[in-house]
């Protein structure tokens, strides 16, 4: 099937929003433009609390864009504008006068390429905490230790906390970035293809970590790898050309999707 034929078959964005339990975040009718080019069309989905939600789809379908809108990182791009609502509990994230600092405190982000600061490991993790609070030395030590433990990297770095963060291997750096994000105890962690720059062993470690993390945090992960989504997530949303084609429990999506398009993607017909 050619791309053009597929275009005609795209269903409108789904509004089927059933999840078990509460939604941490509601995304409602989000449209987004880069300049005049529309990148997201009427996207709606719930993000379930303490679950891992993954966003899959071919390149350029808007998953990263959607993810970055959740913590308002798209504000860094001047030509970007959007309409619609994203709500987390009482806070409307997309409000014009929203407090970006506290939004981003509650919604952390891990990036595609590990980006530790050119500081020591300790300072990397402590950075976020010191931004928002005034901890004492002991309190900070314990927070750093706790975060590094939770990120499953404590054993490897406990004896060299004052080495540069950039001196770690790729996988370790990514775990450091995760530790950095969870140090400020966000409610949600957004992950934008966190394993794409890592080797398989490091990837496995991160996936295991994600499964641990979901006990305390809500995780939204964008991934290129369907197998990763299948392994790791509870809910999956399939996006195509800026639309949320299907959103459902992961088992359902990967075994018996409702949409034809989803099925074609899962079975590798395109993307």
């Amino acid at each position: 099937m050619t791309e053009e034929n597929i275009e005609n078959d795209i269903p409108p964005s789904t509004r089927k929003l059933d999840i078990d339990g509460d939604a941490e975040i509601h995304i409602d009718g989000l449209d987004l433009w880069y300049g005049t080019k529309q990148a997201l069309y009427d996207v709606s989905l719930p993000i379930a609390k303490n679950c891992v939600t993954s966003l899959i789809g071919p390149s350029g379908c808007g998953k990263s864009t959607l993810l970055r809108t959740i913590n308002r990182m798209n504000d860094l791009i001047p030509i970007c504008r959007y309409e619609g609502k994203i709500v987390q509990g009482e806070t409307e994230i997309t409000a014009k006068d929203a407090d970006l600092v506290s939004i981003r405190k509650n919604i952390g982000m891990v990036f595609q390429r590990p980006n530790p600061f050119p500081k020591s490991i300790y300072d990397n993790v402590a950075y976020g905490v010191k931004l928002h609070h005034k901890p004492s030395r002991e309190q900070l030590d314990s927070i750093v230790e706790k975060s590094l433990k939770r990120a499953a990297i404590w054993s490897e770095v406990s004896d060299r906390l004052h080495d540069l963060g950039t001196s770690l291997s790729g996988g370790q750096q990514q775990r450091l970035c995760i530790a950095r994000s969870i140090a400020i105890e966000p409610d949600v962690i957004l992950m934008d293809e966190p394993c794409s720059a890592l080797d398989p062993i490091a990837t496995a470690a991160i996936e295991e970590l994600i499964l641990e993390l979901k006990k305390d945090f809500t995780v939204v992960i964008v991934t290129h790898s369907m197998s990763q989504a299948a392994r790791v997530s509870d809910y999956t949303g399939f996006m195509y050309l800026g639309r949320m084609v299907e959103f459902n429990k992961t088992e359902k999506i990967f075994s018996d999707p409702d949409q034809e398009l989803t099925k074609r993607y899962i079975t590798g017909r395109f993307g």
Partner: protein, 568 residues
Amino acid sequence: MKEIDKLPVRNRKGREFIEKVGSGGLALTSIIGLVFLLILVYQIAKPTIIDGEEGEIVAATEFLPISDYILKWDNPSVDEDGNLISEPIIIQLAWDDENGSHEHEIEITVIPQRNVKENIQLNENGVDTNEVTVGKKTKFFIYSTLSTPVSVHQISGPTPAANETGYPQVNTFVIQSDVSTVFSNGISIEESMAIISWCLLMVMILVYIFPNEKIIQPIASISKNHQIIRWISLVPFLFFILYEITVIRFFIVLNCFIGLRMLANLSEGIFRLSNQMKPLNDRILLKHSIVNRDGLMLWAKLFFLVSTFFIPLNVHIPFLTERYQDIFQPYSSGIRSAFYGTFWVMGIAMVMAIPVSIGAAIYLEEYAKPTRLTKLIQALITNLAGVPSIVFGLFGLAIFVREGGFGLGFGPSIFAAGLTMGVMAMPIIVLAAQEALRSVPRSIRESAYGIGCTRWQVTKDHVLPSAMPGMMTGTILAMSRIVGEAAPLLVVGAFGAVLFDPEPFAALTDGNINFTVIPIQIYAWTAEPGHEWHAMAAAASIALIAVMISMNSIAIILREYYRRRLNS
């Protein structure tokens, strides 16, 4: 409750505040640069507006009941018949008292006789007169009994030290220029030659843009002799050798050269077309058959534009091209010798520096294997570019100027100065040329090698034309930087006051080797006491900056031209 929220919280409002203050502060630092620039520009421009009599009458006190202020004009403001030579001299007195501020204007007429005096009285009731008549070179006074100071300010007319023609006048710009057409004073042979050369260029440009049947035919008839025309185009350069070079002659020669070259190329193109039995009235065909059409058109347009200012319009700036330094009348000084000096020093520097620098750059980029020698040369170039300019001056002093030891003994002459500046410009030009060469995509070289070119052929025919815009731009920018450098020339021995045209090759011919350049002239005039000299220094600064701006503009125009050509 999250664990972390049990910690004391940093004040959110405080962070917002710091954010605002921070970005405000940063914006402020950026504006400060602008403020510096504006102050700088103002302080350089202000002295060039001439002001006349300025001062203050001290307040009268009980020890000094009458305070006086001396005035004197050296030259009359009216002629024998009582007609004003120039603007009337008007001074304004201003003072404050308990009733508020007062101002009073007095017109002063200076007559050709001497020793005619009329004093001005100033008391609580005001000034006693509106007009005074005094003789030239005669002191006269303002007497004030006021207990507040009175400011004296000349609003119009010639300054007290002005010459017989009433120059300079208050509130005029120090650099005078006038535009006249070349016909206004009658025509000499040289001027008619200038007009002819200018017209030739104009005609050729028009022919190139609009090749018309009527013009093509007569050219076609002589097109067989295009080679001869090419040789003829070199004849005007003889002019340079036989006669002294002035600005007008420079343009005559170059206009003729370019015009004849255009003619030669055009006839060659026509010749070839007619040999191939192609029609001559096909414009596009004609345009494409002319060798080096774009290059010639660029230079032709450039020279036409510039010579328009000199030949038909005859823009005349005596400050630049006529006057030398005038000790007695600072305002009548000009920078002619400095201007020519700069021109010659830059010329020699360019001739010396450009081939060597570009050669070195080509060697380093295209030919050299990364041996230790190459790395050494590269490191040396990068470090030479950062050496203070005065060290180059010392080098020039010991090597070019001096006789003993390693010295070549050219003396403190333009030749030595040119060589020194060339040495100074070298690292900069090499670096710029290297950048240009590096920006040429590898595919060009590879495809040229692929068809079997030798390395020099690849460089000369493929890489250089691509890199040429960057190289020319870099070279011209380097030159414009060098123009403003004074320190090395100070060491080499430029004079602060030169009252004749510089002789560029005097070092070789045992002529008078004294010379000066514009920055040195500014330096010398700044160091002189008296604000007239400062005004002249400011004017010379403006001239220097104008030279630099024009060089930069040429560089930018060339860069844009080549960029359009590469992209089209």
